[in-house]
Amino acid sequence: MGTTVGTEAKLDERIAFLKKQAQQVRLHIVKMIHKAQSGHPGGSLSAADIMTALYFDILNVDPKNPRWPDRDRFVLSKGHACPVWYVCLALRGFFPIEELDTLRQFESRLQGHPVSTKTPGVDATTGSLGIGFAQSIGMALEGKWLKKSYKVYALLGDGEMQEGVVWEAAASANKYKLDNLVAIIDNNNLQNDGYTDRIMPIEPLDKKFEAFGWTTRRIDGHNMEQILTTLREAKAHRGTPFCIIAQTVKGKGVSFMENVRGWHGKPPSDQELAQAIQEIEGGLK
């Protein structure tokens, strides 16, 4: 039987716990990418607070039974940010924390992009932008068809909104009134080649999703209180699919990575790692 972690605690205590947890998540992200000397730190760090809230408060999952049929589903549609997912899964007990050191290595279960048949807790193979979100539609449809109470959560990047299939998926969620589907957009305004609003503008995302029949919320994606209360609202929401547009900073928590295009897919050096660890341990600014 799956359980969320300590949902009974008071809100301010939960927030304090989650903030501490997010710090651990960030530390593991930079360490594992440094160890692999390959991976995507920027988009992992921008999603760290949201992912922590999901895995340590919201998601009803069972690490001992990763394919438990009644579990909440999670799809990392921005699959390149899998370091943050692997860390959350490891800290939640899906596999040993030491395994994080094998990221992207030969015969590792932790592939360069998430693979459902290899990693416990990975519900969908992703890595091709837009497709994970479109897969989450099928998962939510199945839940509706079977009259199950689980929810499907998909985390997307804002650059990913440029993929046409995202809007095919958004339309179908409206048609089938998938109120068991929650999309979270990690809106860090940076993609591989530069600022999202310059490469190919995708705003206003809230108006677009509302026009597609979704309920939307805009939040600060690094404010744990806002993250938690909005995710809890989404979890209880009925009637329409729910979209959270989370304003974030790419590379959040490590000053020299923050909002710098070059840290999309680059590992830190030894020196950079030491500084990153120091800054993360100092807490979010």
């Binding site: 394919r67 049929p69 799809v75 693979v115 459902s116 048949t117 519900d123 969908a124 193979t125 992703t126 890595g127 091709s128 497709i131 479109a134 897969q135 989450s136 539609i137 099928g138 998962m139 939510a140 449809l141 199945e142 068809w145 046409g164 299939v165 095919e168 998926a169 339309a171 179908s172 048609k175 089938y176």
Partner: protein, 332 residues
């Protein structure tokens, strides 16, 4: 080993393979309540609407959005459920090929692709609707199995094979009603084939609609004293290597004809297979005669089906001509 049919009798049919496949899907829905069908807005063409009419809660019309449809099907199949995805071959196998590859074949999901308008059988619709590269795309993907039935009975059997084979299965179906040849008593299996006619001079291999053209070619050749063996390779991947080798050992000449690009079609597969596995010693020959008919690095066009396949060299007449040429040793 494939069964050998005593006598093949062609009967005009009113049911194209796309319809027969869908009709079997409806029947199957009564015994298997767990699978669902995703359509991409051509249900009245693929006849998947028959399933939707009977089981509305198990039928999801995702609109004119093959990419999103295929990905949503992957999501619904993620925990093991069988999902049939219906659409036209060009769109399912090319627009959505990456989803089929990375998110259906790679995780080995039970997605069964109902793909209509294979080859030039959508002749009057023109190139945009003629899937003449579908076999190449699908058979190249690891884990994917590929079927190409030619008539009502083999199309119905293809549905059963698809459902009973774990993992992804692609079935190439046709737009137009052609002929029926098999009966309810004929059996089909993954990796199987049927020898439709025995002959010792040349082996004609084909699948789908071109099976009928190969039979016609065999009739034409018989009048000249050439006895052609005709194999219906309805299971394109995996194909029936045993039957092929046994036949080729006797005839020492193989001609593959397919309604598809020559490049990366079944003929390429069989050609390279024979190079490696042909039993030269027991055949008692030093050379095997081989040729391959299909689209020669070209697109098709609109027009009457029989005129189009004749122009592109895969009609019975064209196959017979190629067989004569091959046996006479002439080079094209």
């Amino acid at each position: 080993m494939a069964s050998v049919k005593e006598k093949v009798q062609l009967r005009k049919t009113d049911s194209p393979t796309r319809k027969s496949f869908s009709e079997r899907m409806v029947e199957y829905g009564e015994i298997d309540h767990e699978f669902v069908v995703f359509e991409s807005d051509i249900g009245y063409s693929t006849y998947s609407y028959l399933f939707g009419d009977k089981y509305p809660d198990r039928y999801f019309n995702m609109g004119i959005a093959e990419l999103g449809t295929m990905a949503a099907a992957a999501g619904m199949a993620a925990d093991g459920r069988t999902v049939v995805v219906s659409g036209y071959g060009v769109f399912l196998t090319m627009r959505a090929v990456e989803v089929v590859r990375s998110f259906i074949c790679y995780p080995h999901l039970n997605v069964k692709i109902l793909s209509s308008h294979g080859g030039l059988t959508a002749a009057i619709d023109g190139v945009t609707h003629q899937a003449t590269e579908d076999i190449a795309y699908m058979s190249t993907l690891p884990e994917m199995k590929v079927l190409a039935p030619c008539d009502k009975f083999s199309a119905r059997a293809a549905f059963d094979i698809a459902m009973q084979t774990p993992g992804p299965v692609f079935t190439r179906l046709m737009r137009d009603p052609l002929w029926d040849m098999y009966t309810e008593k004929d059996t089909f299996r993954l990796g199987g084939s049927h020898v439709l006619r025995r002959g010792g001079d040349i082996t004609l291999v084909s699948y789908g609609d071109i099976v009928f053209q190969a039979l016609e070619a065999a009739d034409l050749l018989a009048k000249e004293g050439i006895e052609a063996e005709v194999i219906d390779m309805y299971s394109v991947k995996p194909f029936d290597a045993e039957t092929l080798l046994e036949s080729a050992r006797r005839t020492k000449a193989v001609l593959v004809a397919e309604n598809h690009q020559k490049r990366n079609g079944l003929g390429y597969e069989i050609g390279t297979f024979l190079l490696k596995h042909y039993p030269w010693k027991s055949a008692g020959v030093k050379s095997l005669k081989f040729d391959h008919l299909g689209l020669e690095d070209t697109f098709g066009e609109s027009g009457n089906y029989y005129k189009v396949i004749d122009k592109y060299g895969i009609s019975g007449r064209a196959i017979a001509e190629a067989a004569r040429r091959l046996l006479s040793g002439a080079r094209r």
